[in-house]
Amino acid sequence: MIAMTHAGYVASGWGIALVTLGAYALRTVRRGRTLAAQVPPEERRWS
């Protein structure tokens, strides 16, 4: 690993940021899928 001071802080900071964003993105996309299934295709103007 590259010699780095405060490695723990940098890793945890970036780690938490990416994990939170990832989780939020997945949750949103999954919610989108379940909702999209209940709506007739023409209502979804983007696909």
Binding site: T5, S12, A17, T28, V29, L35, A36, E43
Partner: protein
């Protein structure tokens, strides 16, 4: 956080060609940013490597304020046009903004630990960002309650007024907190302004661009989720009308205007 794989168009999802391209672009940018932020950009002489957190803290702060601005504009447009789209956009921007504000605060306090030795500091930016977080929580709480009334056009007034005031409030809070704290820190160099130039400046700019793309991608998806929630809600109305009229032993209104 992979961009949605090439789902066949038409399959029930909120992704589209546009979001897939945007998603791929964001991912590539993120990899590049991580390279620069963690490896290629130099450590700060004073703070050493903890400065690498700046590349996530500063962009998320900027995008948090942008989200509030979008919500205020969306609320203003809703007040003028009363169309559902603006109402959904207001909510989507606020929610994505809340996530970014949360990340900004967490990375800010982690970054503060090695530099100041404390997880919290009455630094004007941290204080006003925290108040911004609570303003967003309040706005979203109000919207959740407002969502219970069925008629989309009529119910959004409360949320729109608070939404309209969101960005002005953020600015007033930011200005007064800044003014309040600057009385105490006239000469000190706060850790947020280490001298930035060269690769550090480039990495920061890259960070702002990449997180901006991510923000947009999330906003588009969250908007579509909100839009679908409205559609599901709306279809419910016709169904409810049929059930209600069934009580009176009557079918769908013969001449009733749609």
């Amino acid at each position: 956080m992979t961009a949605p794989h090439a789902a066949p168009p038409g399959r029930a999802t909120t992704s589209s060609r546009g979001t897939r391209v945007l998603g791929a672009l964001t991912l590539a940018g993120l990899v590049l940013l991580l390279g620069y932020a963690l490896v290629w950009s130099p450590a700060d002489i004073v703070q050493k490597d903890s400065v690498r957190l700046m590349y996530v803290h500063v962009p998320t702060a900027i995008l948090a304020f942008t989200a509030c601005f979008i919500t205020t504009v969306a609320s203003a447009m809703w007040l003028r046009r009363r169309s559902e789209g603006w109402w959904v956009l207001g909510g989507a921007a606020a929610e994505v903004g809340l996530v970014f504000t949360g990340i900004c605060l967490v990375t800010g306090s982690i970054w503060g630990r090695p530099t100041w030795g404390t997880y919290w500091d009455w630094d004007p930016r941290i204080t006003s960002t925290t108040l911004l977080f609570i303003l967003l929580v309040g706005y979203l709480a109000l919207r959740r309650i407002d969502n219970e009334t069925g008629d989309a056009a009529q119910r959004g007034m409360r949320g729109a007024i608070v939404g309209l005031l969101l960005f002005p409030n953020v600015m007033i809070v930011h200005y007064s907190v800044d003014w309040w704290r600057s009385l105490h820190q006239k000469a000190t160099i706060t850790r947020l302004d280490p001298t930035i130039e060269g690769t550090m400046l480039f990495t920061l700019m890259l960070g702002i661009v990449v997180f901006g793309l991510l923000f947009t991608w999330l906003l588009v998806h969250r908007f579509r989720v909100g839009w679908l929630e409205e559609r599901v809600g709306a279809t419910g109305l016709d169904q409810a009308l049929v059930e209600r009229r069934a009580e009176a032993g009557v079918g769908v209104p013969a001449g009733g205007s749609a």
